[in-house]
């Protein structure tokens, strides 16, 4: 009995974490945790601050541009989130972001496929990229950091080679292009749907549960019969496909297929977004909602500073500090919880 009492007091002592999660979790059907709430508060605080500093921040026009600007970051951070939770990383997703529209364009322009089919060809190409990332990482036992770093450069070269280094114009406006990003809010709607579906997959399906298990305790998951190879490879493919898909959406939005769209910036920002949102780089912990909110925080920071006329250099300084603070907070919370263990 003393065991149980000790346990419960330790849990109370471990802070508001459990209680708050219980309360908020019940309020929102268990889909949101305390970490998301804290980042939501940061988000609202930032919005209020920028609105106070510059009345244009919450103008209709700026909200639309915020919403559009956030789309690639939100989608890639959410997709990366699942991959990070299962214990892997994809540095090449930014290049998939540029690669899919290029393949789509070539299929449309050179192979004369109808646009929807060309889009599918583009997505198939990045699915293959994800598959290769996964196969090399899982079966050849190469760290995904290295696998996808190699893939990053390979795709960067391919992107430039395939296009001759010049941007191309997207196929002319049609209902299909409207749906796929050209319509003012279409990208945002896609992003929200993708976030919602991914969060549902993560928290409410076997795939999601096994993703947590694979990253949290790979050996244990294998012993319990979870096919961690399947989970990892699947999440690599998911990450590649969604990265490519949002690349296609972005290219329709700006009417340009840019071979240089996928620099290191986009993937690093998305990793930062996921981490700020509470995803552990070592796997086992994180939520899509967190990554989504993290991506919004970064978007708002950059947009807000731009409106204030603060340079990109300053933005990087602030981003760096934000990531460090988020990580320190992570370690601190983990220590608090560790103290709660018997």
């Amino acid at each position: 009995m003393s065991e149980t009492t000790g346990e419960s007091t330790a849990r109370e002592a471990s802070g508001t974490d459990t209680q708050e999660r219980g309360f908020v979790g019940r309020l929102l059907g268990g889909l949101v945790r305390v970490r998301e709430v804290s980042i939501l508060i940061v988000l609202v605080g930032l919005a209020l601050y920028f609105q106070a500093a510059n009345g244009a921040f919450l103008s209709q026009q700026n909200i639309l541009s915020l919403a559009q600007y956030a789309v690639p970051y939100v989608v890639i951070a959410s997709a990366l989130c699942l991959l990070l939770i299962c214990g892997e990383i994809d540095l090449s997703v930014g290049q998939s972001f540029a690669f899919a529209p290029i393949v789509m364009y070539l299929a449309y322009d050179k192979l004369f496929l109808v646009l929807p089919l060309a889009v599918l060809v583009g997505l198939a190409a990045v699915a293959v990229v994800g598959l290769i990332n996964g196969l090399i990482t899982v079966y050849l036992d190469v760290s995904s950091l290295i696998t996808t770093l190699g893939m990053f450069f390979l795709l960067a070269g391919l992107n430039v080679t395939l296009t001759g280094g010049f941007p191309a114009t997207t196929p002319e406006t049609s209902p299909v292009t409207q749906i796929l990003g050209e319509g003012a809010w279409s990208g945002t709607i896609w992003a929200l749907v993708i976030v919602a579906v991914l969060q549902l997959v993560l928290l409410r399906t076997r795939w999601g549960l096994h993703t947590y298990a694979t990253g949290g305790n790979p050996l244990g998951a294998r012993e319990a019969g979870v096919s961690i190879a399947r989970i990892k490879i699947g999440n690599f493919i998911l990450c590649g496909v969604l990265g490519g898909f949002v690349g296609i959406i972005e290219s329709f939005r700006i009417n340009s297929i840019d071979p240089l769209a996928g620099g290191p910036d986009i993937v690093l920002l998305c990793i930062a977004a996921a981490v700020i949102g509470g995803t552990a780089l070592l796997g086992g912990v994180g939520t899509v909602t967190g990554a989504f909110l993290g991506a919004l925080v970064l978007t708002i920071l950059r947009n807000g500073f731009t409106l204030q006329g603060i340079s990109a250099y300053t933005f990087n300084i602030i981003l760096g500090v934000a990531i460090l603070l988020a990580m320190i907070l992570n370690v601190y919370v983990a220590r608090l919880r560790g103290a709660g263990r018997a």
């Binding site: 149980t4 399906t205 076997r206 998951a221």
Partner: protein
């Protein structure tokens, strides 16, 4: 021995890791309703043997028969589908997941594509109650539980997934006296009420005599000792292991090469 009533039979099982032959031809059998205690020194290959039986490792030689049929296990899932459930030494629990998600790990209940959390929670609460295990909340992450509670969850998971046979790798390791008694009691009840055949890896020989029907000693990659517990004793087992140690010392430890 009575071949017909063997639930599990291993014949000449060999397992190598690179140049190291851990299992050199293990013959082992467990009858219906029988609890077999498996003892042996650290590094004798007990866990390897268990993992080879459960499809975690693939044997490099020999054969494994379950209920008289030879099986070629390719995965843990396959062994599970045959009713062979294992409680590993590391428990195979996922710290980050709740008690009830761990309880149903890789055997989740679903409604369409979605997890049926409500049903899994209800079942988990019922299982733990049946077992007399007291856990603060089944929503708790298992990282927050004590060693005995974690062990109990791992055992419950194995037992309640329609196990026809249970393999337990040091179920009493790193456990207090009270928690150890809980698990021993649980094993005893499983044996009496459900007649599930079991293989138990145990370090404490006294515990062998508490629950096992027969005891096997794994040494030098083979089963070198096989007796019903009624004909054995703690002293004999201790002597068996210690004498080997003395012999090894006298001959200049030739074995560990």
């Amino acid at each position: 021995m009575e071949n017909g009533s063997d639930f599990l039979r291993a014949e000449g099982v060999v397992k190598r890791f690179g140049a190291v032959e851990v299992l050199k031809g293990v013959d082992l059998h467990v009858s219906e309703g029988e609890v077999l205690g498996l003892i042996g020194d650290n590094g004798a290959g007990k866990s390897t043997l268990l993992k080879t039986i459960t499809g975690f490792h693939r044997p490099d030689g020999g054969r494994i028969l379950i209920e008289g049929d030879e099986v070629n296990l390719r995965s843990v899932s396959q062994a599970r589908s045959l009713g062979i459930q294992t409680v590993y030494q590391d428990l195979a629990l996922i710290n980050e997941l709740s008690v009830f998600h761990n309880m149903f790990l890789n055997g989740e209940m679903t409604v369409g594509p979605f997890l049926n959390n409500r049903k899994m929670k209800a079942k988990t609460a019922q299982y733990l109650e049946d077992m007399g295990v007291n856990i603060p909340s089944i929503d708790t992450e298992v990282a927050r539980l004590s060693g005995g509670q974690r062990q109990a969850i791992a055992v419950a998971r194995a037992v309640y997934s329609e196990a026809k046979m249970l393999l337990l790798d040091e179920p009493l390791a790193a456990m207090g006296a009270k928690e150890g008694a809980l698990i021993l009691d649980l094993i005893q009840r499983l044996k009496e009420e459900r007649g599930i055949p079991m293989i138990l890896i145990v370090h404490n020989y006294a515990q062998v005599f508490d629950v096992c029907d027969r005891v096997n000693l794994l040494r030098n990659g083979r089963i070198e000792y096989d007796k019903p517990v009624a004909e054995s004793s703690v002293e004999e087992l201790t002597e068996l292991v210690v004498s080997e140690y003395r012999k090894a010392r006298e001959t200049g430890n030739t074995e560990s090469g």
